[in-house]
Symmetry: C2
Subunit: 238 residues, 2 copies
């Protein structure tokens, strides 16, 4: 087992344990975008299912859309097949659903895909949806919410929906992006994955650079920031 | 009235109102370090006492110590006198109190001075102690606590002590440092004030730079971060 794989599996194992993310009998649907994050997540859950105490089922769902002519889906399917990750695809016409005069944006697309994921999960008996967000995503969202929405909030590692019988889990919550990149490199799928043709949201790209300047790229500092959300001191706020 | 003065008085007025910092009959002791922040604070409270609805008394206390041979105290006294700010001095041997083998540091010095301030206030019938911390200080402390202590906390605008009959208030909580600098410049006391010979804590200096990189120096962004501490979303943390 390579070093990056060890790091990935250890941190996923810690997150699953710390947050009680996966329980006996769970059926976990992995939202597989085709990117390095959710691809690494699928690998980690497949590995975990082989050695973990709790028995759980899992499958990956890729939501294809009308703006992605990705040639890499066959590679993704082959990769998942080699890892014993059941794989399905669902077509959602994200652009086709836009109301007249509206243009494509990240918010619209992610809402559409999230809705379809939940629908698919409930129809197919999955009680958990696993998303590929990692530590850097979680910190990024915290800072975006603080700086743009005047709110201390982020994407939580576990979030149960009130309206649906599904719970969102983020097993990569403790994994830094650089650790995922190292794993993708080690496994040799770094260039085989799909990236959104609209590119990363530019606000996110900008804020990511600013956060690197704040933390100096230190993993320890990022983990401290992540931990800080567990220790909100009521009498010492504004 | 100069523009920087207007800005200062407006923001102090807003903070005093928002947080109910000063009430009828309060006796406010201003901790006057001799620096631009607390000097601006003394001016703002003296002005406020002339036009505010609530009647309150105030006085400035400068804590002199055995490591400061500052030649500027006479200037500070003259400035305060011209603004009708009652001024007293107290000598505290900060270095003299160090236990053998211990060296001077910001934490030791500030603890010593805080203790003396509280003692002086209770002995002289002051129920409020006004400190010169501004918006940038408050945000800086928030980020230091997040990154180094894994805690979401800062210096609150109002903090009542449980053990003592005094409440700490920070009337400059909504004023940015650059706005204080502009005021000091406008009033012409920018170079007349005293700075600690030990210089700013180097960790603070470093983090200040990093925060400027994060916010891009934007006052709006800083105010959003300040506001975010009022909106902590419980289900959306880690």
């Amino acid at each position: 087992m390579g070093n990056a794989e060890k790091v990935l599996l250890k941190l996923v194992s810690k997150a699953v344990w710390d947050y009680g993310m996966i329980r006996e009998g769970d059926r976990v649907l992995i939202a597989a975008s085709g990117g390095k994050d959710s691809t690494s997540l699928a690998f980690a859950l497949a590995e975990r299912s082989r050695y973990s105490n709790e028995h759980f089922e899992f499958a990956a769902l890729h939501i294809a859309s009308d703006f992605c002519n990705c040639c890499k889906k066959a590679k993704l399917e082959a990769l998942f097949s080699s890892w014993n990750v059941p794989y399905s695809e669902l077509f959602v016409p994200v652009i086709g659903r836009l109301k007249p005069g509206k243009t494509m944006n990240c918010y619209w697309c992610s809402t559409q895909r999230r809705t379809e994921l939940i629908k698919y999960a409930t129809e197919h008996g999955f009680n958990k949806i696993a998303l590929g967000h990692h530590l850097d995503d979680i910190i990024e969202t915290l800072f975006m919410n603080m700086m743009l929405k005047s709110e201390i909030s982020t994407m939580p590692p576990v979030m149960a929906y009130e309206k649906y019988p599904v719970t969102i889990i983020r097993p990569l919550a403790l994994v830094e992006e650089r650790q995922i990149l190292a794993f993708a490199e080690e496994k040799g799928f770094g260039r085989a994955v799909c990236t959104c043709p609209y590119g990363r949201n530019s606000k996110r790209r900008d804020i990511r650079k600013r956060i690197e300047a704040l933390t100096g790229g230190s993993g320890d500092t990022k983990r401290n920031i992540f931990e800080s959300m567990k220790h909100v001191k009521d009498g010492y706020l504004t």
